[in-house]
């Protein structure tokens, strides 16, 4: 078929899977935030960038290693997310969704601008942690250990969050709140706090992805906005508000992108949007979304 060596094909699928892991983590956060807050969070890419820069600065300024950054940066960005919700998004909750969309869009430009001003637009390298250096021969290709780690860590994180939301009591509050927040509050649950925590969780997840990305891609102010548009396409394909849809379509589209790089490279940067258009025509609610 197309005369492509199997090794190249499998290699690109593997790389696509790694990219798909980032799509999955970011679109999962977007889907959680959209579900409860009804906010289309254009700042999500900036929060991812903050995570990466958080890791970078923790290392450069304080000498904090990768493993601690993986914990500290998401907590820090989560707190920033909580503040964003409390100070700004909450005030926009009662008005048209367009306002919160514009706010987060502006916030993303603002954050990106600050970092570009201070650190410049060029990428800054982040060293791969010592324990994750080297490559493993997996038969059809030699795969860097760090990429294997990304797949393991992001799948574990996505799986953990899926379990938290689908299988725990706290998750049942979130699911019910996504359906009818006012009634949930009338039943005695502190929904305003839940909303803050949810935005913080989405922000922390984006930052976690950012720290994971730092050694793989370079740390730069625009790293989030480059990824964000694809991530929105992923959320739409998975079905707005569907968490498993966001995870699965993130991984699938990463692989699809990888495949298209071998089969027809010219289309690889648009294949996600072609898939989105096709899915919207066939299933307007997305692959795993519920029909309204």
């Amino acid at each position: 078929m197309f005369d492509i060596p199997l090794q190249v094909l499998l290699g690109q699928i593997t790389i696509g899977l790694v990219n798909g892991c980032f799509y999955a983590m970011l679109s999962l956060g977007l889907a959680i935030i959209f579900g409860l807050l009804n906010v289309i969070n254009f700042a999500h890419g900036a929060l991812y960038m903050l995570g990466a820069f958080g890791g970078y600065l923790l290392l450069q300024v304080f000498g904090v290693d990768y493993w601690w950054s993986l914990v500290i940066a998401p907590i820090g960005v989560g707190l920033i997310g909580a503040a964003i919700e409390r100070l700004f998004l909450r005030r926009l909750a009662g008005v048209d969704h367009l306002y919160s969309l514009l706010f987060t869009f502006g916030l993303a430009i603002f954050l990106e601008g600050i970092f570009r001003d201070i650190y410049g637009a060029a990428g800054r390298p982040y060293p791969v942690p010592a324990a994750l250096r080297g490559v493993v021969d997996i038969g059809f290709m030699r795969l860097p250990v760090y990429r294997i780690w990304i797949v393991v860590a992001s799948l574990a994180m996505c799986g953990g969050i899926w379990l938290l939301i689908e299988k725990t009591k706290l998750g049942s509050y979130l699911r019910a709140g996504t359906e009818n927040p006012r009634l949930v509050q009338a039943l005695g649950i502190n929904v305003p706090v839940m909303i803050t925590m949810t935005y913080a969780l989405g922000a922390a997840l984006a930052a976690f992805a950012g720290v994971l990305a730092a050694p793989l891609y370079q740390v730069q102010p625009a790293m989030g906005s480059n990824l964000l548009i694809v991530t929105f396409a992923v959320v739409v394909i998975g079905g707005l508000g569907s968490l498993s849809g966001a995870i699965l379509s993130g991984l699938t589209l990463g692989v699809l992108e990888g495949l298209s790089k071998v089969i027809y490279p010219e289309v690889s940067s648009t294949v996600v949007f072609i898939a989105m258009a096709a899915i919207l025509l066939i299933r307007p609610a997305g692959l795993m979304g519920r029909e309204a």
Binding site: S172, R175, A176, R182, Q185, A186, L187, G188, I189, P192
Partner: protein, 240 residues
């Protein structure tokens, strides 16, 4: 469990000059009502008279409200909805509000425990055995009657002693309505204070101790059970 006396002088729930708005629409125009502990009071009236809005205003589900709402002698008019609920009010909405992304049992367990004295899961399943059989089913896959029972059961678990039940007999088969009737009778026996909104006069009549007829957002008549019987003025207001 002891049965509480029907008439006590300290009201469990009392509403004075309550006004409520949805957006610009002024729906309640000075509602007044008062429920003694253990009492069952029914709000009668036509569609759009403001009965449902009265319940929604008490729990804080309107856009704006003014006046006074005291729950166990605590003023609740300025409280956020989750804090009103924690005063011991359980709200069962007209649309039942069963969550489709939650299983039957998750729906049941959703309202947090507000105070001691709530029913245990075992007691609820004993009262409403259907729910035990369907505990793993998706909330909205339950039949209409089961969803109605679930909507009542979940507020019993929370420890709420004041129940606001909105049109619980609406749209259900007679056999289910009978079972709901028996359930409310049992709740009465357990000393719950209940504010019922009912379209169905014949459902409410044997259940309630007192009847308030609501028209244009205020109470226009207060009646005892005997006074309700064959009262032509009431029937005219209700459009029967």
């Amino acid at each position: 469990m002891t049965t509480m006396p029907l008439e006590t002088h300290v009201p469990a729930l009392s509403v004075h000059n309550l006004h409520a708005w949805y957006g610009e629409s002024h729906i309640l125009h000075g509602m007044n009502l008062s429920l003694g502990e253990g009492e069952i009071v029914a709000l009668l009236g036509r569609n759009g008279s403001g009965r449902t809005t009265t319940l929604r205003a008490i729990v804080g589900l309107v856009d704006r409200r003014a006046g006074s709402i005291t729950v166990n002698q605590r003023e609740a008019i300025g409280m956020k909805p989750h804090l009103v609920a924690r005063l011991g009010i359980g709200y069962c909405p007209e649309e039942r509000g069963i969550f489709s992304s939650l299983s039957c049992e998750e729906n049941l367990m959703l309202p947090p425990k507000q105070r001691d004295g709530g029913m245990s899961l075992e007691q609820i399943y004993e009262l409403l055995p259907n729910l035990a059989e369907r505990r793993r089913a998706q909330g909205t896959r339950l039949s209409g009657g089961e969803q109605q029972m679930l909507a009542i059961a979940r507020i019993l678990r929370s420890g709420a002693r004041i129940l606001l039940l909105d049109e619980i007999s609406e749209g259900l088969a007679p056999v289910i309505v009978d079972r709901l009737f028996d359930t409310v009778i049992r709740l009465k026996g357990l000393g719950y204070t209940v504010l019922l909104v009912e379209q169905n006069k014949y459902f409410a009549q044997p259940l309630a101790d007192r009847f308030l007829v609501v028209e244009r957002g205020e109470v226009v008549m207060q009646l005892s059970r005997d006074e309700l019987d064959g009262n032509a003025a009431v029937d005219r207001v209700l459009g029967i």
